[in-house]
Amino acid sequence: MQPGQRRDSFAILLILGVLLVLPLGIGQSRYMMSVLMNCAGMAVIASGVWLTFCIGRINICQAGFALIGGYVTAILIAKAGLSFWLALPLSCAAAALCGALIGSVILKLKGIYFSMLTICLTEAIRLAFLNGGSLTQGAKGITGLPQQFAGDSALPLYYLGIALLAVALGVVWRVHYSRLGGIFRAMRLNEDLAESFGVNVWRYRIMAFAIACALGGLGGSYFAVFTQSIYPQSFTVEHSIYYMLFCFLGGLEYVSGAMIGAFALTILFELLQDFQQYQSLIYGVLMIVVMLTLPNGLMALRGFSFAWPQRKGAAE
């Protein structure tokens, strides 16, 4: 194992381990549990964004796919009467399918074009659900989903969140630290070169994007069950941007980056309850500060010095 990989696995196992035993320590405070469930859900969604960073695309439509996952779950449970255990994988698959379809079209765009288009796509998906007629119930959304686990305890839902997080990280880990990950890295660095070495760039791009969207759908589905509702404002462009920030804060070189960013920021803001109203403002400032001072993210902190980046001069 490379040193970076070891550090990465250590961070993941540490956090997952702590999460597993935490309910014993903090008792079953509903509030603490819901904060952690929130973190876990966000981390699942953000790890999808992280994966698209791997192929050199900035994905700002993850909130759209989370919305797809949430709506599919809500519709399947509320309208079709399916059980949650069926709805969860189905919504994951639906998001992946949408991702593959849309991705096969938009993934040939690169860099800034891709990001601009994905912002528009988040909006488009939101508008589509807003105009979905009686199926999606417009701006009201689908509310009052039944509670999935009998009883008062939040524990089952909590452990479901942890399990989903573990699955998401497992998938991303498997992809990143395998031959596939090497291919993705090659595609990020130079797509044309990768193609000239016989990589079927088109196929791998779509594969990466579909996995990312599946993770978005998984997280969205979890949130729909957790909050027992879904409406078009559940996931917006702003959320897409936060997911990106999570990845950047945690570090783009480490699989655990998305998770660490999500947990760090979400918990930080719960601690700073008094500043809740300034949340977006602080996110904005934080984003600028992170870009100026921590270009490699939190996970890289010990490996790289915590110093202002060296000036390489204006040349590109």
């Binding site: 900035i58 765009l109 074009y113 601009m116 488009a124 934080l286 870009m291």
Partner: protein, 288 residues
């Protein structure tokens, strides 16, 4: 039918002004200024306070709005974008910086100005009735369209015929070659960024007289601006103008037939389909 055409042209001329600013920044720095819509919003508020509240003449208020935003542009570029562009290993960095500034501006405006929708009195009263009541054209809308066309022409002339304008085009074409020719790239880049920001402010200041302004419109305007420059091709002035008019027309037709959220859904779908066939927009150069 005539009414739709008029609405489309009026909207289009203002939109072209918005898109021009964004495309200019992109052409010179290869950075998409995600805060463009937020800058538009600030321009709107500047005019709201100066012209609507303190009674400053409109032309002065508009110029001051442009100037303020130009100054913000200089500061942003000097202290935020230049360091990141100089240091970053990944091109994502400058984009995330832009997103950060957008969040920052929006929330500063939210805490300073509140959430309320603000409006100012119309520039001129009266309505032009065309074709025996077939179509109505309020003079204030006409004034906005004419002023924005004036600004667009002024900018195009500036870029075409003045020395700094030529330097701007040179930097957009090839940074290193421009530097070798003695162009001070840093200064020119800053100039370009601040002109882009000022254009956003002016567009906001103009449109506040028609649609009002609130602190939350930034993302909406940015999204529209992205659509326009993707239609026309990022970094190309003519593309921005064509994109602006195309979107203005599409909106005018759509609003006449459909509810507004449906209109935008169709516009998004149409744009994605369009980009399948022309990934670089109408006039864009092939660029990653």
């Amino acid at each position: 039918m005539l009414q739709i055409l008029i609405n489309g042209l009026i909207l289009g001329s203002a939109y072209a002004l918005i898109a021009l600013g964004l495309t200019m920044v992109f052409g010179i720095m290869r950075v998409v200024n995600f805060a463009h819509g937020q800058m538009y919003m600030l321009g709107g508020f500047a005019v709201y306070y100066l012209y609507g509240q303190f009674g400053v003449p409109f032309w002065l208020a508009l110029l001051l709005a442009g100037l303020t935003l130009g100054l913000i542009g200089v500061l942003f570029n000097r202290y935020l974008f230049q360091p990141v562009l100089a240091n970053s290993k990944r091109e994502e960095s400058s984009m995330l910086m832009a997103v950060g500034t957008a969040l920052l501006l929006e929330n500063v405006a939210l805490s300073l100005f509140g959430e309320k929708q603000r409006g100012v009195p119309a520039l001129v009263d009266g309505v032009l009735v065309l074709n025996d009541g077939d179509a109505y054209l309020p003079y204030s809308n006409l004034a906005v369209a004419l002023i924005s066309i004036a600004f667009i022409s002024a900018l195009l002339l500036f870029v075409q015929y003045t020395k700094p304008g030529r330097a701007l085009r040179a930097v957009a074409q090839d940074k290193e070659a421009a530097q070798l020719q003695g162009v001070n790239v840093k200064v020119i880049t800053t100039l370009g960024f601040s002109i882009g920001a000022a254009l956003a402010g002016i567009a906001g200041g103009l449109l506040v007289t028609l649609y009002g302004v609130n602190s939350g419109i930034g993302t909406n305007i940015s999204t529209k601006a992205f659509i326009m420059i993707m239609i026309g091709g990022a970094g190309v002035s003519s593309g921005a103008i064509v994109g602006g008019f195309a979107l203005g027309m599409a909106e005018a037709v759509g609003y006449d037939l459909l509810p507004s959220s449906m209109t935008y859904l169709l516009i998004f779908v149409a744009m994605i389909v369009f980009l399948i066939f022309k990934p670089n927009g109408l006039f864009g150069k092939p660029w990653g």
